[in-house]
Symmetry: C2
Subunit: 528 residues, 2 copies
């Protein structure tokens, strides 16, 4: 999936060439100092009006990126439909795609793999992700569902509403007032449930929305030290909940999200059980710096051990409700189906909701299809993670597809945190040559481990590719005399061994050697 | 691999734009009435001279078609290098690529899959290949190693030379004289050892010469009634062999072949043991018609049960020799390596020579990635073959990757021949939905069956993909009420179910239904 070129120009993929079919819609900014924030959830009439505007258009189909090969462009996918949804809603939203992209360019590393240009989804290059246990902010993956609102922190407030005993509106200064709230700081891994989705796509395509089912590699995971206040303390400050046994806390993000012709803010929820153990942080700091705009500035939630989708960015309201949110992201997305469910029978009630993330891992170097000249060992590096209150205890790798496993030595695992991944590396003994199937599996502290094959955990929405990560490596073992001799000969002739697919345009054996060897082998035909 | 467009224009891929770097070479036609036939084997000096001409050029590398996706063009590959080899050798050979292509257009079906434009390699569309046990001449696969010589049958002779007691030159009339030779006619399947190579390429790329390792699908196999004389009778007519115990019969084809900068005619051999059981035919008739030019007119060998490479076209000489031919096609190609052999250590002596073909089979319809709406059974059609003196006795298919096998009913297998494939079809019971792994295996009369996975039989030169043929099918079972309801609803809304990857832009379940179903499922969260 090496990025190689700019995406082909798509029709109507810029706001100026897009043809409005109505008078220019007017959905004004909700608040002074907040740009790109249209409030939908409080105004059902406005949502209805926006849906009517959208119904005037036949937006392009989503691009077919599953049944054929994935584009080799970077961005891989553009998100033309998603841009047009914004263009169709008039001046407040039409520039959001280009504004958002400008934050990608200013806040993220130049060599990100742009899985989807808009809404922005991107992951860092494989090798770099496992260089440091704490992911630099510029490299941390981004999985946005809408554009990036620009919020003046001085104008920022957070509403705590719903079934709390004392609803409140808090400023950023309130939240950061240590006299009111003790500060909490944790190293936490956030993972998108789409991590490693390309493995499912390559073997068994599924639902093909370019945003919901973006074609992620192994980098939709990252680890940061997040600092803020525990949501539990804020709820206590609001006098506690009216319904703690069944309560969910519903998070409202200022970004605009589109779903099947409907418009809304980004809304999800987590149960009070999760909040009350201090595993939900309202964070304004990421690795000692203010949140980058693209990561939710000025305030986001960070939900430890859960799917990243619950870590709501550009948070403007937290509402205590009874039971899980009925907003579409919570009720209708991030569902985990049994393998016989698909387009022919999928509903919202026959998949279960992805909250806790299971144990998983990935080999980040080498990458699949690499052809490696080595001297009997190959170094593998990767990550291992378990959510849901667990942590990786053991990482094992195999060079034979999962028959024989080698344990990663304990000293080659990075620090053990309750809520974060562990990086690992191993010099794996490799004697065999030719194509080998390398794979990794991780055991967490609850003895959970990973399904064996992609097929073992395939599901229609292509979530949670937790099966053993497998790569194909072509092994060229220089410690073998025949291979050493061939490599030396090729070097003398100036012929590269790689790529292996390019044939050698010289005779591979002299006639004399052939005759001597064939005599040992009793010739081509039997003697009688 | 659906053909979709013309190949991109390649530089110097036509004789007029190719820049000669020497004076125009002059390698004249060998004989009156034979066009495009340059004799190399009898003139070592001429071979040397041709190699010197070729050494002036840096020909293009072979196209990379293995480590990336296969082109979706038709022709899939063009063979620019191979064309240029001909252009570089002057007037006798430079028009051969275009003349050969004109025979493709006039003698083969318009919808052939052109695996390689020159030297021509092509196979028929999958479904049609299994419509008739006898393959029409227009559909029979072609695997040529050079251009097509045009031979006036009146000027045609065949030399029988070497270690025969009475060397002879025979005309076509001699061979067809039933007073001299009894006529023999057999239904024989010819199979290229590259059949189904794309399965190996897709999983584990290997040697990447576009001709030698052409990316064949499942159609590099065909069956015809061949008529001619048994080579055994011709050898007897020449007084028999001087060395019957160790003799090979070496076949010379009038096409020009290029190998690592050397020029030669197409030369291969088969042992006398094979000839003396009347399994080598000198054929001038294919399905009751004169051989098509592209199939070797006026005379070719047909070697029953062997790799197709031994069935030499445009045959002009048969030489009795001691042991196998030392010509490169026999000695240096069509070798079968153990999986740890590759570019780093492959020689000619450490692979064994492919002669007899093993048992194999293929599912021709449906094709992999098909998404099928059905009522509880899916019809599969395909071929089954075993070479080496065997024939298919039983065909079994599986819809679960090889756990449970269903036997194809005997009445659904085509006629049983000693030397030919059997076509088969079955209505396979399919209850499950979603992605299913279908596969087929065949048992021959010697109880040979097929390796389980591509990996089980992978080899560096990607020959003889005899592993169980596997396809992925997405099953939509209309006999299930939930699926029937979904299909009806989509039909009413005018929304196609296919392709499955296009999301449904309507809500999949009403809120009322969701609440009722979720109540049955005890909600999202536990009760305490």
């Amino acid at each position: 999936m090496a990025p190689s070129a700019a995406p082909a120009a798509a029709p109507d993929s810029n706001p100026d060439s897009f043809q409005l079919k109505t008078k220019e819609p007017d959905f004004p900014e909700e608040r002074e100092g907040w740009k790109g924030y249209v409030e939908w959830e409080h105004y059902p009439e406005k949502k209805k009006q926006a849906a009517e505007y959208l119904s005037n258009y036949k937006f392009p189909d989503c691009p077919e990126f599953q049944l054929g090969p994935l584009p080799t462009t970077n961005p891989i996918l553009e998100g033309v439909r998603w841009k047009q949804y914004h263009y169709a809603l008039g001046s407040t939203l039409k520039n959001i795609p280009s504004i958002s992209w400008s934050y990608v360019l200013s806040e993220k590393a130049a060599d990100m793999i742009h899985v989807l240009q808009f809404p922005y989804n991107g992951e860092p290059p494989r090798a770099r992700l496992v260089e440091t246990p704490i992911t630099p902010n510029t490299d941390h993956f981004i999985r946005n569902h809408g554009g990036i609102p620009e919020i003046d922190p001085a104008a920022y407030t957070l509403d705590i509403s719903g079934l709390v005993n004392i609803p409140k509106r808090l400023t950023l200064a309130d939240l950061q007032n240590e006299a009111l709230f003790p500060r909490q700081s944790n190293v936490v891994t956030i993972q998108c449930s789409g991590t490693r989705r390309i493995e499912q796509i390559r073997e068994y395509p599924g639902d093909g929305d370019e945003l919901i089912n973006a074609p992620w590699g192994e980098g939709a995971i990252g680890t940061a030290r997040w600092t803020g206040v525990s949501l539990k303390k804020v709820i206590k400050y609001c006098g506690g909940l009216k319904n703690p046994a069944t309560a969910h806390l519903e998070f409202f993000g200022a970004d605009t999200y589109f779903k099947k012709g409907q418009v809304q803010n980004y809304v999800v929820s987590v149960p009070w059980r999760k909040v009350k153990v201090n595993e939900v942080l309202l964070a304004w700091e990421m690795n000692g710096e203010p949140l980058p705009k693209i990561h939710g500035f000025p305030l986001r939630t960070v939900v430890f051990g859960y799917i990243g989708a619950r870590s709501c960015k550009w948070l403007y309201e937290i509402r205590a409700i009874d039971g899980p949110s009925r907003a579409p992201v919570q009720m209708k997305e991030y569902l985990y189906y049994t393998p016989q469910i698909g387009k022919q029978n999928a509903k919202y009630s026959n998949g279960f909701s992805i909250q806790d993330m299971p144990v998983s891992s990935a080999i980040m170097t080498p990458v699949t299809m690499d052809q490696i000249v080595h001297d009997g060992t190959i170094k593998l590096r990767g990550w291992a993670y378990s959510g849901g209150g667990h942590w990786p205890e053991r990482v094992e790798v195999s060079s034979d597809g999962g028959g024989v496993w080698y344990e990663v030595p304990d000293e080659n695992l990075s620090e053990k945190y309750y809520y974060a991944w562990r990086l690992w590396e191993i010099d794996l003994p490799v004697d065999a040559e030719g194509w080998l199937d390398f794979c990794v599996r991780t055991w967490d502290n609850a003895l959970n481990t990973q399904p064996t094959f992609v097929r073992s955990a395939w599901n229609w929405d292509l979530h949670v590719t937790s099966s053993c990560h497998r790569i194909k490596i072509y092994s060229i073992n220089r410690s073998r005399p025949a291979t050493a001799a061939r490599l030396k000969w090729l070097e003398e002739k100036g012929i590269p061994i790689l790529p292996i697919t390019q044939p050698i345009e010289l005779s591979l054996e002299s006639d004399e050697d052939y005759d001597r060897e064939m005599a040992k082998r009793q010739g081509r035909d039997p003697i009688e």
